[in-house]
Symmetry: C2
């Protein structure tokens, strides 16, 4: 190429090369906890974009024991574990590979058990030294759009790769923009015993991750990620002026669900933390892809909210009762 | 037939007749809240049993706005609303039908808007006068196994219909067996502010329904249906001796996940309510199908737990803050 077009990550390209000439009709996204949560928007993308390809998201041990009958040589199984040592996910890779599926393990540790059990490995970066393009979600999106491109000729692949290459500056602007609000959140909510999260569509996985990993796991605060559409069919009876909700408003097609949930919550709740992706500066991200990209930015901002909450509560995000301490 | 073999419900048979000679490659289970929760075990069944057929469960408004690209004339869309008036579900039926999908509306009200918008209607019974065979789950299971039979020749259909015809006596025995425990549950847990539920596999939908409809909606108790496999990847940090968990142990293939979650919870929690399907008398239910049938029985038992909790708290299950009272 003569122009300055960004190219897809080479590790992802290796998977895409292997897909050529191979029949794949189903994608299984398999991981646990926070690594499972990042799979959700990828299924949203496939549901919206795929003409024929179907997909499922399963927690690793559910995947193994459920043992989907369709799983086989026409399946692509995408797995993720930061350390690459999550036993259920390592076993899921082994299980899927025995069934003849094409396996891709996302991990920060390229010599880990998950990397060894997966046919293809995608090493991702995390923490301060990472840039958006090379994070787990950044690389997963490259794979998801790459798969759509190779198998079905979807033409959004290049645009997505380009948008992801511009995402780091979006992250940095967003973090700065929400610095004060994150601090305020920590101060105002530090004594809460329960904090709900709510979202839909492409953003639901982010709400799920925040509920189970940040609030329940890292802060020992009761939580539940309520789906904005389900809210009106049960969960909304819980809200009143004393019950906090973090409400995410996305830019994808399900945004009207979030808006409706917010409108109702404003009437009967008083402790609402609203993150609206419309307020973000998404310069560099293709207009057509902003609905898909929003969850990555909201996730980045929410991490700042988590850090400030931990600080205000004097309860480090790394503090655990059981993980790393007892057998389970 | 000359023998006394039970026949499938005629309304379900009408759908099965329409499937003959038609190409269906995907089933969408579409409903809201408690009606959505009963769809989950049906997807579990399809995942386990279907050679080719794929499926998804969506909350009605998510389904419409997500607008899956695959949705079309090769889709079967199964919807449910007790009153048949849930606006999102009525609209979902209309939407799916416009896309050319085959639509089946489950409802207690055969002249309701959902019945009018659906190509086929299955009227189900509920409450004191219903028997297991004619409840929403009883009829849904007949459809799910019927679909597998017609489209893929799955041979468990007759066994399932027979098992469902014997289920009412199982329900009655189970209700009697757990009468004392339900009463005890109401007394012991009436002052709790948070009660989690936990399950996996075929039973997860039951745990979900209990969390969002019984506890949050009908009792205004904070809750979250934790998946037993996800438990160890975040949520388990919330448990200690003061945090109540209702843990369901099923008979399906994911039971080891529930057992592991229970073992851990017993070490660090003290407020555990355990419903183990192994303790049930499932006489009349085919051995091979007990894993699929267990959630229906656990659901029936849990309803008794809900009634006793409501009684002990002097908070009727019909009491609402918003539903039926305010606009939303």
């Amino acid at each position: 190429m003569v122009n300055s077009q960004v190219v897809v990550d080479q590790q992802v390209q290796n998977v895409l090369d292997a897909l050529k000439g191979r029949t794949i009709n189903h994608v299984y996204f398999v991981a646990c906890g926070g690594s499972s949560a990042i799979m959700y928007p990828n299924k949203y993308i496939l549901d919206r974009e795929a003409k024929d390809l179907t997909s499922d998201v399963y927690s690793s041990n559910e995947f193994i024991h459920r043992n989907p009958r369709k799983l086989g040589e026409n399946s692509l199984v995408v797995l993720c574990s930061m350390s690459g040592t999550t036993p259920e996910t390592v076993k899921a890779a082994e299980f899927a590979r025995q069934k003849g599926a094409l396996t891709v393990g996302f991990t920060n540790q390229p010599t880990s058990p998950l990397a060894q059990e997966s046919e293809f490995v995608v090493k991702y970066e995390w923490g301060a030294e990472s840039v958006a393009f090379n994070t787990n979600l950044g690389l997963l999106y490259q794979l998801t759009f790459g798969v759509l491109n190779v198998l079905e000729g979807n033409d959004k692949f290049d645009k997505m790769v380009n948008s992801l290459s511009n995402l780091q500056s979006v992250f940095e602007k967003a973090a700065k923009q929400y610095e004060g609000k994150a601090l305020q959140f920590g101060q105002e909510y530090k004594d809460e015993k329960v904090i709900y999260t709510m979202a839909s569509g492409a953003n639901y996985g982010i709400a799920y991750s925040y509920a189970i990993c940040i609030l329940m796991e890292m802060q020992w605060i009761h939580s539940n990620a309520v789906h904005s559409g389900e809210y009106f069919h049960g969960p909304f009876e819980i809200i009143d002026k004393d019950v906090p909700f973090i409400i995410l408003l996305g830019l994808d097609e399900t945004r009207p669900l979030d808006e409706r949930a917010l409108d109702f919550s404003k009437k009967y709740g008083e402790k609402l933390v609203v993150l609206d992706a419309k307020d973000l500066d998404l310069t560099g991200v293709d207009e057509e892809l902003r609905g898909y990209i929003a969850p990555l930015v909201l996730n980045h901002v929410l991490r700042k909210y988590a850090e400030q909450l931990a600080e205000a509560r004097n309860h480090p995000l790394s503090q655990r009762r059981y993980m790393w301490k007892v057998e389970y």
